[in-house]
């Protein structure tokens, strides 16, 4: 926005130098619209949910450490596996992805903020309140217990009588709204906010990956929105979508869920591909091998990602034609993914590879993710899938791609961009300890699960009988899970120790930075770029470095920078949706209390929530945000 203003008027007089009301402390975080602060909010919130999901995983593994264990009962186990999956995917890793996208994308494209700072904040707060709502289920009558896929009829009121699944449908609905808003925002940002000279084919690979990811979000999330609405209506309004006794169809839920669910796993993995494609060239001191084939492969993966959903349903009984079609399309995805794997290997080939912590994670990612990919091709074979389905083989497969792929990628990205986000380098020694404990723990946990699955151990069952040769492998798996937990603790220690050090990271702390984020201070000033840089090629900063320049050529003179105002409205809107969701969920309950019954059964609570949300929206529309300016004097003063 500031860029356009300046191009319209090379040196506009400060026509409205609105006074700035700067908030401090908690108010600052609640009202911020700065993408760098929102990134940190996403990171802490995502980290919190990731921790919850991790604890749930540890509890699951403790229950399975020996046969016929009584540590947990079956109901608690069902709730734990449901919440572990749901929390990790929607509330753990996706926000951390959004944290990195928020922290890095505007910097990498040379922009001063995202296209819609207000929506950016709104996306965060709706995600957070959705996540809080979902996790409130633990203390409000029982968590969802129908698995993260929430298959009907298991998830209907007949078989899941508590409010657990309602928390799932409405919590995810609200969190999903935030994700969709974020996706649209990043698409618009990447399309319109790039610095002069940065054509689409000069964008860093992480930006490309985020762009494609956002497009998948845009097309996949509406499907789950509808699916969740239908399930909510079935459970609360007694509709009959999935009720076979009234003509409904439970296979329909599976289709809708996986039309969203399969693209969702590409929403998870593509940003990791992007991170790896940034980290490996930096630490190999070589440009990314096959940049354009990487772009092409990413687009192809996104397209194919929508065409394969029914491979989750081979055993549902779609018939041989559908099974064959989806089998072939699934195997096809191995081709663009293979292109990527080889491109990373060829990037390192002949490079001056430095094994810093981020690069260790990136290099560890490649074989680990490839193993997950290979079992994916095995699962794509429909006849073989009849054997693998619902066994620990599947559990091993998707943990190899999600933990061995995405989580290692996120670790690489967090270590890599930590100095840019916080101005402090994470400790390298502790970082390497994190890597080794985590990756060894990971393989201990999940490698053996392949064999458990092939031997016939079913997933989602809370215990198993002795003398099936499951005992030792399960023990190993649990020990591995503990080791992964240790790795996480080392990482948290690293963060804590680093936070007590002075923020003295240099602009280009890895010294071989290739992209625009390394041309500005760590952490960047709130306007990011004093002058918008001129991009002369792919890897813009590296290009300048090889031409003997230390800085970027500016594309504009120093002028006043227009900034959006902080606002509490996104927070209030999300609070409103949260209240409305809770109100709707309990609208059919008998409270045994006249006032509560009156408020909930007449949808008054829902109405209050919606009034808050739409009222805030109206305020936003009625009162224009004029923003404020940072004058050239202040810019030069730094």
């Amino acid at each position: 926005m500031a860029q356009a203003a300046q191009s319209l008027n090379p040196s506009p007089p400060l026509r409205h130098d609105h006074s700035v009301k700067r908030h401090t402390g908690l108010m600052d975080w609640i009202t911020t619209v700065d993408h760098k602060k929102i990134a940190i909010l996403y990171l802490w919130a995502g980290g919190l949910f990731f921790g919850i999901g991790g604890l749930e995983a540890i509890l699951i593994r403790i229950q399975l450490i020996k046969p016929m264990n009584t540590f947990l009962d079956a109901q608690t186990f069902n709730e734990l596996i449901t919440m572990h999956g749901t929390t990790m995917i929607f509330l753990g890793v996706m926000p951390v992805i959004f944290a990195l996208m928020n922290a890095v994308i505007p910097l990498q494209i040379g922009a001063r903020d995202v296209a819609f700072p207000f929506l950016n904040a709104l996306g965060f707060w709706t995600f957070l309140f959705g996540g809080v709502l979902l996790n409130l289920s633990w203390i409000m009558g029982g968590a969802p217990d129908a698995g993260w896929t929430s298959y009907t009829p298991l998830s209907t009121t007949q078989y899941s009588g508590t409010h657990g699944v309602d928390f799932y449908t409405i919590g995810l609905q609200i969190a999903g709204l935030g994700t969709l808003i974020g996706g649209i925002n990043f698409l618009a940002t990447i399309i319109t906010m790039r610095a002069p000279g940065m054509s689409f084919m000069r964008m860093p690979m992480f930006v490309w990956a985020s762009f494609i990811t956002s497009a998948i979000i845009l097309f996949a999330f509406p499907a789950i929105t509808v699916g969740l609405v239908l399930l909510t209506f079935d459970r609360i309004l007694e509709a009959n979508f999935f009720d076979t006794s009234a003509g409904g169809n439970s296979v329909l839920w599976q289709h809708i869920f996986w039309i969203f669910g399969h693209p969702e796993v590409y929403i998870l993995i593509l940003p990791a591909f992007g991170i790896i494609s940034e980290v490996i060239p930096t630490f190999a001191r070589k440009r990314l091998f096959g940049y354009s084939s990487m772009v092409f492969a990413t687009i192809l993966i996104a397209f194919l990602g929508f065409m394969v959903w029914a491979h989750h349903m081979f055993t549902t009984g779609l018939g041989p034609v559908a099974n064959a079609l989806f089998s072939v399309s699934t195997m096809l995805i191995a081709v663009p993914t293979g292109i990527k794997i080889f491109n990373w290997l060829f990037t390192m080939w002949g490079g001056q590879v430095r094994f810093t912590t981020p690069n260790l994670f990136a290099v560890g990612f490649i074989p680990t993710f490839t193993m997950g990919g290979v079992t994916g091709v095995m699962l794509a074979s429909a006849p073989a899938d009849f054997q693998f389905h619902d066994t620990y083989f599947v559990v091993a497969h998707f943990h190899y791609v999600i933990v061995g792929g995405l989580v290692l990628g996120l670790f690489a990205g967090l270590h890599y961009w930590w100095p840019k986000m916080f101005g402090r380098m994470l400790n390298e020694t502790l970082g390497k300890w994190t890597f080794w404990t985590f990756i060894i723990g990971f393989h201990l946990t999940f490698f053996v699960q392949h064999f458990l699955g092939l031997m016939g151990m079913q997933r989602r069952v809370f215990t198993y009988l002795p003398n099936q040769q499951f005992d030792l492998l399960n023990l190993i798996s649990t020990i591995g899970a503990g080791l992964m937990g240790v790795g996480m603790l080392i990482f948290l220690t690293n963060i804590f120790l680093t936070s007590r050090k002075p923020a003295d990271a240099p602009d280009d702390p890895w010294e071989d930075g290739r992209t625009l984020e390394w041309t500005i201070s760590s952490p960047p000033p709130e306007y990011n770029f004093k002058q918008t840089p001129l991009v002369r090629g792919l890897d813009a900063f590296w290009k300048e470095k090889t031409s003997g320049h230390k800085t970027m050529t500016p594309a504009e003179p120093v002028g006043p920078i227009h900034m959006p105002s902080a606002t509490i409205l996104p927070f209030l809107m999300s609070v409103g949706i949260f209240i409305a969701g809770l109100g709707f969920m309990f609208s059919r309950d008998d409270f045994g209390n006249a006032f509560m019954g009156f408020m909930f059964n007449n949808y008054l609570v829902t109405a209050i929530g919606l009034v808050i949300t739409f009222g805030s929206m109206l305020l936003r529309s009625l009162y224009d945000d004029h923003g404020w300016h940072i004058g050239p004097e202040e810019l030069e003063g730094r």
Binding site: A5, F233, L237, N240
Partner: protein, 208 residues
């Protein structure tokens, strides 16, 4: 943004004021993206309806239920309102604020008429045909699909009404113009969805 209210106050707007600022262009682009997502949303609802269209659970079927004259009237109302919102945008491009406001008012009025017809239709089904949300899978799918569209119409009416108010208070500026343009896009999209609803739900329901 800097130029935003300055230019608006001066009163010499560019030909397409909705695209005069980066923020305006961002808004229009992002709204297109949103409509891409909305297409999937309605696509999934249509898919659900198509899957469950014959599951009447011994309740009324589409053929027994629908009356074409009512649907034709609703269709005509929405189609005309789409045309009037085109006229509104044309007036905006010419900078004629009063004409713009009048066409927006007509659009809102036609939208209201549509909504009244739909509510009447639903109430007839519920009261006289014993066809409610819980009757059958077909009824659930019908009310959800058509109701979602109706909710979109209702939101559009509120939205455009708020914009008419803003137009009166703030005038046509490079801040209000993108809002009006985007609301017109939304309104056309609602009409596009309705084309599929009257075809797939009502007409094909009659054909059987």
């Amino acid at each position: 943004m800097t130029t935003a209210h300055a230019e608006g106050a001066a009163g010499n707007l560019p030909h397409e004021p909705e695209k005069a600022t980066l923020e305006g262009r961002n808004k229009v682009l992002a709204f297109w993206l949103f409509l891409g997502g909305e297409s999937v949303l309605f696509g999934t609802l249509f898919a659900t309806f198509l899957a469950l269209r014959n599951q009447t659970n011994e309740g009324p079927s589409a053929n027994e239920l629908f009356h074409l004259p009512l649907v034709a009237a609703a269709t005509f109302l929405l189609l005309v309102s789409s045309l009037t919102s085109v006229f509104a945008i044309q007036a905006m491009h010419r900078g004629k604020v009063a004409v713009l406001r009048n066409w927006l008012l007509v659009t809102v009025f036609l939208g209201l008429c549509f909504l009244v017809l739909e509510i009447y239709e639903f109430s007839v089904y519920v009261r006289h045909e014993e066809f409610g949300m819980t009757t059958s899978a077909f009824s659930s799918a019908f009310y959800t699909l058509v109701g979602f569209h109706g909710a979109h119409v209702a939101f559009g009416i509120l939205w455009i009404s708020v914009l008419i108010g803003q137009l009166a208070r703030k005038g046509l500026t490079v801040v209000t113009a993108p809002k009006i343009y985007v609301s017109a896009m939304y309104w056309h999209f609602i009409d596009v969805v309705w084309v599929f609803i009257f075809t797939v739900v009502y007409l094909l329901g009659k054909v059987g």
